[in-house]
């Protein structure tokens, strides 16, 4: 595995094998798929929607949603379109499919049919096959994206793209490290190069497909630099395989200044790296995720977490926002709860859409400068580790802890980094593990955390990390002692 464009012809043998992994694979015929896409109306194109959002300074609202049975799934999406006012639609894939456990997904479909309630946490697109997925594509009036968390999403991509989906979430790092336990990065990166190359093929045929690396990672106190660095790398790997429409993601951290600064830094720095790497023909947009960590159980409080996220996304001028629901802490939302999340978000977004808050001031400049320096430290180290090859660099960087995602389940992640909020709620790094931060950056984080420790009259400690993890679900931002 290395950071080079896959040869489309050479990939055909592999494609054949992939398409045999489950019986539905045999229905994928690329030429027919391309023709099918060409016949789809423009309002179902995700890349076009993202372009229009950017041009019109709109913030598109997207829910998460997926249920096991096709008809129910269509009903759900239509409801979110009409009652929720979603601008673009998802199809969230169940967790068995994400692990390529299609037999278990099949059992989940059967049980859900038998028990008359959903027993899978998403839509098993592979099991439903091209035909089933097309029913969905044809029933809704908005662009559709596959949202999942699949280290090996080759078959899923083949089927859903052939079915007319026009956006595909994920990446070799972001859909492995937070989502898997023992998938080597070499494998997941290689498998995502396949996905990106497949998207590149569609692009070559004039069919635009949007790709979206998963920015929030574990969603839990991830320091912005880690998410941004990984997003930039996944962007580079995608562009290399011919991806043109790219949406990088950021998960709300909770501190307004940090969130705005991080979005700002991500947009600028990603474009810089992409241009520097020689890419010119791409369209970059940003997606903001409402708080991805533990939510409050109380729905009134959950609404406020949703609203605050919506406000930041609007002020950060993101192109898209992924919306949570008042049921977040409890379980997969009903369609009603899901639409409530959308409507609450819409209210904020529309109230703020004509407003600007200046980001041209000291605190903002300092934070966004800091994030960019941190990202540079990380990316320099990855580049060096890979001797100029990003893919190889990533594998070595994770092995050495130069990249390290807090709280991730993967054994290929060192797991030595512990984040912590400072006295104003900025996410800082408490234990840096082997992250290659400069002395100056380290010192800055240390000082900020000491400031909090003094304010709370307790030493900087692991207990603070735990407290911070629970804080938002307990109605606070910083996990201070009571």
């Amino acid at each position: 595995m290395s950071s080079t464009p896959l040869d489309w012809k050479e990939m055909q043998a592999e494609r054949e094998k992939v398409l045999q992994e489950w019986p539905t694979g045999k229905d994928v015929h690329l030429e027919e798929a391309i023709a099918y896409h060409r016949g789809l109306p423009a309002e179902k194109s995700f890349p076009l929607a993202m372009r229009k959002a950017q041009a019109g300074k709109l913030l598109l609202l997207q829910p998460r949603a997926g249920v096991p049975l096709i008809d129910e799934h269509i009903k759900l999406l239509k409801y979110l379109e009409t009652e929720g006012g979603a601008d673009v639609l998802p199809t969230t894939i169940d967790a068995y499919t994400r692990q390529n456990r299609y037999a278990e997904a099949a059992r989940g479909i059967e049980l859900s049919l038998a028990e008359r309630h959903a027993l899978l946490n998403g839509f098993p697109a592979v099991n439903h096959g091209v035909e089933g997925c097309r029913k969905v594509v044809e029933s809704v009036g908005r662009p559709l994206q596959v949202r999942h968390g699949t280290p090996d999403a080759r078959l899923l991509a083949e089927i859903t793209l052939a079915a007319g989906f026009t956006s595909f979430e994920g990446g070799g790092i972001s859909y492995n490290i937070p989502y898997a336990k023992d998938v080597p990065l070499e494998k997941s990166i290689r498998n995502w190069q396949y996905v990106d190359r497949l998207v590149g093929f569609y692009e070559e045929q004039g069919v635009a497909i949007n790709r979206e690396p998963f920015g929030p990672l574990t969603g839990t106190l991830v320091p912005p630099c880690i998410g941004n660095a990984i997003g930039i790398i996944e962007g580079l790997l995608a562009l290399e395989q011919g991806v043109k429409s790219l949406t990088l993601g950021y998960g709300q951290g909770g501190n307004l200044v940090q969130d705005l600064a991080a979005m700002h830094a991500l947009r600028a720095q990603a474009a810089e790296y992409f241009h520097e790497a020689g890419f010119a023909d791409f369209h970059l947009t940003l997606v903001f995720h409402q708080w991805m960590g533990g939510f409050p159980e109380d729905e009134a409080k959950a609404f406020s977490v949703i609203a605050l996220g919506a406000a930041v996304a609007a002020l950060a001028k993101a192109e898209k926002i992924i919306v949570k629901t008042p049921y977040e802490a409890m379980g997969i939302p009903t369609k009603e709860a899901n639409a409530q999340g959308l409507r609450a978000t819409r209210q904020i977004v529309t109230m703020l859409q004509d407003q600007a808050i200046t980001t041209d001031h000291e605190a903002m400049r300092r934070e966004s400068g800091l994030i960019r320096s941190e990202v540079k430290c990380l990316l320099d180290a990855v580049y060096r580790a890979g001797e100029g090859d990003w893919a190889r660099g990533v594998v070595r960087a994770f092995a050495d802890g130069l990249l390290d995602v807090p709280f991730a389940p993967s054994i290929y992640n060192r797991g030595k980094v512990l984040p912590m909020r400072d006295n104003e709620g900025f996410i800082r790094v408490f234990r840096k593990g082997a992250l290659p931060f400069s002395a100056e950056i380290q010192e800055y984080h240390r000082a900020r955390l000491e400031e909090r420790a003094r304010a709370e009259r307790r030493p900087v400690s692991f207990q603070m990390v735990t407290d911070d993890i629970y804080a938002i679900s307990k109605g606070r931002l910083i996990g201070r002692p009571r």
């Binding site: 049980l111 959903a118 336990k181 409890m330 379980g331 735990t466």
Partner: protein
């Protein structure tokens, strides 16, 4: 924290579930609370739980499920334990055990019917859970002797 002998417990997140944050906290918490924790992490199969319990002579298996497939993943765990000779191990389950928001009483009944001794919602107070666990283990120990 709670004093007493360091009973061994097996901890893990069942099925294809990748939610690792709660698992790390439970590990730290029960360790602090004086248990010997064998933490299998995420994505643990039924047999891996049982293997670990046999190997470590554990008094209890603490199963987490967050992602919604708990209902499918946990079915048959008790039977499998008995099959494999683990007939007195305590089974605890906690997390977002089913798909969607359903009344906790219903979820609890369902999991108790599957053979779990105790069932917890995500909002459980861990101190209370640890105290229950210690009491349940001690009761089981006395019953045996």
């Amino acid at each position: 924290m709670t004093a007493g002998p360091p009973y061994t417990i097996v901890l893990g997140v069942i099925g294809a579930d990748c939610h690792s944050v709660g698992n790390k906290i439970l590990d730290a918490f029960f360790t602090d609370a004086g248990f010997r924790v064998v933490n299998l992490g995420v994505m643990v199969s039924r047999d891996e739980f049982i293997d670990a319990a046999i190997e470590s002579d554990a008094r209890a298996i603490l199963v987490s499920s967050l992602y919604g497939h708990g209902e499918i993943d946990c079915a048959g765990l008790r039977e499998r334990c008995i099959e494999r000779g683990l007939d007195s191990v305590l089974l605890y389950a906690g997390g977002n055990l089913v798909v969607g928001k359903r009344p906790f009483a219903e979820i609890e009944a369902k999991f108790k019917a599957m053979g779990f001794d105790r069932v917890f919602p995500p909002s459980v107070d861990l101190h209370a859970a640890a105290a229950l666990l210690r009491a349940d283990i001690e009761e089981a120990v006395h019953a045996r002797t």
